[in-house]
Point group: C2
Chain length 390, copies 2
């Protein structure tokens, strides 16, 4: 099953987001020609660390002390760049220019694939490991600013489907705490393959995107619930835990199978019971990136009267055949948003045009010059949340 | 200044919590004799990873594939254990028995100190890196259980002292969300040297300790604010950022200097403005571990009418000379708690006895068989929060 799904994703133009998995990536020389020597520490380095760095050409330069090593490589974007050792045993290497935005990577030291001790760590590419922010021209929209701050909450809850405690993030807008009688709409927001609920909370900068847009009055305040697609039904959860590592625990994904049950039977009731929520379809949305977008597709088709707002980021498209005679979906839906990176080819603009012709309020968005990576999805969220619950 | 403070800490019996810093640690052979072969994956491994493992003797076994390496070591508890390579290029090594609880460590591959790709990552020892849970007989008290769940919130706020946005965690008990008129006491809880606000939220398991105790009716519901001691006043923050790496950015700590200003002028007003808080000294507490305990000592002495509840975990003691003529402190204080690990020697029981004689409601606690590490502090929090706001 995992292989079949990988193959379904591969047709969407490659896995920028999986850079640095290091399995069979070719080794190439470090870039040394036409390099502009204006490298600066990446914005997401560990405190006090100068490396990794990025220059104005968006080349990544890594450095590590490994005096006894014979071979050290920088593994990013599907290539391993050979690094060179100086007289002090410090290895340095430079990649080709990268796309704007956020990229997973790792170091390879004498055959060992390890995180870079200079970077912060994120969950993606089916592991906790290194990533680097390559500055983008529009990165202002997800920075922490001195505007009224919401909060990103970590919450555990009991799942009747998996018979385990599960972990999610819930974003509350600033006024949730100060206006203690108002009720709010809720967006359920999903991650992609090889990722989990940490993605939107951390590298996705969901809280900052929302706080900034609410401060500019470009988005209305609402709650965002960020959960994890990995959901094994109870009877499977009790089997020996084989092969959990592959792509973040694929066994129970089922593209709307066990996770759909968890969402409908556990997550939504938990949220609507514990928090000040407007519990009707017109104040409920679902969106996701990549596999999370495909899950949004299947869950919203299977539950056509549950969610008025639907977003698919790099997750493919809805087609007219699925919706033209689906009166429940058409009556409930207020916004159907489909996006992808400019380096992906998902036909989102054409799909939106076609869906408009059958009466769907569809919107397409293409993130300029980005691939299947987080900057595509941050921009997609930024666009989508301005359209919903209005 | 950094060195002077390090030296002040060193007198408290060493730095278990700094295990795995790898600076000048001696290399010793991997343990091979009298090893019980009942190793199991550590509870805090990355999903799907078998290594690192722990056995019933509390020995740690690490493993990593590094086919081209000539030397790989497991760096834990101030020693580097030499690992051995098998015919597939996989290195394995075993440490001596460790204390119960949570230990930072790292791997050394041909001279490079790196995180273990098998473990989860935590902030401690002045870095994000690997750590391992060595099972303890009493670890049940900090597990995630199916009891009413509070939440651990990430919040940014503007500091007038540092003129920057700062990041903190705020724990809310379950009923904060369901009982929307009640106001709550607040505990301000601080980390130790080489750590930051992530410590109590993650390896400290503050939310689980509180949720479980509230469910058992052993603690009353209250809010906990977890902030970071690193606070450079604005004029210093504008100077070139020299030496930020050492022990988590020592420059501005000042043991109650810039941080005390941030706490009194920024954090407490922010919390009392934004949340449903009982804003008086009788409903305000401060506690911390190690350097955070020493900061609690200095801040509560400098602000004797502000906090009724005071806790120092592995942070030394109050003495009678400081308090016997301090009527403001004595009138305000309801509980003064001092603790340490059984392998530390901080005189907390004697200090509590002496303070009782001058009319302070002092309590001492010694965590059995642990050193200057997180299991000491989890147990200390578990004891302390049962005594306060009652």
């Amino acid at each position: 099953m995992a292989l079949a799904t990988v193959s379904a994703y591969a047709q969407f133009g490659g896995f920028g987001g999986f850079g640095g998995r290091g399995q069979g990536n070719p080794t190439v020389p470090s870039v040394t020609e036409n390099v502009t020597e204006d490298f600066k520490p990446a914005s997401n380095n560990q405190s006090g660390h100068q490396y990794p760095m990025v220059n104005s050409q968006r080349m990544v330069r890594a450095q590590i002390s490994a005096p006894d090593a014979t071979s050290v490589g920088l593994d990013i974007d599907g290539k391993i760049y050979s690094m060179s050792k100086d007289e002090n045993g410090v290895w340095t290497g430079t990649s080709a220019p990268q796309d704007e935005g956020f990229h997973y990577y790792q170091l390879n030291i004498d055959g060992a694939s390890v995180p870079d001790p200079g970077s912060l760590y994120y969950y993606g590419a089916s592991r906790w490991g290194s990533a680097i922010e390559v500055p983008s021209t529009d990165q202002d929209f997800w920075q922490v600013k001195n505007v009224p701050q919401g909060s990103m909450n970590e919450v555990y809850y009991w799942s009747t489907v998996t018979e385990k405690m599960r972990h999610c993030y819930i974003y509350f807008p600033n006024e949730y705490y100060t206006n203690t009688t108002k009720k709010y709409p809720v967006l359920y927001l999903m991650h992609g393959m090889g990722e989990n609920e940490h993605g939107w909370a951390e590298q996705g900068h969901t809280a900052q995107i929302m706080d900034n847009l609410i401060a500019e009055k470009k988005a209305v305040p609402f709650i965002i619930v960020i959960d994890c697609l990995d959901a094994q039904p109870a009877q499977r959860a009790q089997a020996p835990a084989q092969g959990q590592g592959g792509f973040g625990g694929f066994g129970g994904f089922g593209m709307g199978g066990a996770f759909q049950d968890v969402l409908i039977k556990d997550i939504i009731p938990m949220v609507e019971k514990n928090y000040r929520v407007i519990a009707d379809p017109q104040h409920r949305g679902m969106a996701g990136l990549s596999m999370g977008g495909m899950t949004t597709h299947s869950v919203t088709l299977a539950n056509p009267t549950t969610f008025a707002y639907v977003g698919m980021f790099s997750g493919g498209t809805f087609n007219t055949g699925e919706l033209e005679n689906n009166d429940d979906f058409k009556k409930t839906n207020k916004v159907l948003f489909m996006s992808c990176g400019g380096k992906e080819n998902m036909g989102v603009m054409e799909a939106a045009e076609n869906l408009k012709k059958i009466g769907i309020n569809a919107t397409g968005y293409i993130s300029p010059e980005t691939a299947h990576e987080w900057h595509t999805w941050r921009r997609s969220l930024y666009q989508f949340v301005q359209l919903i619950f209005k």
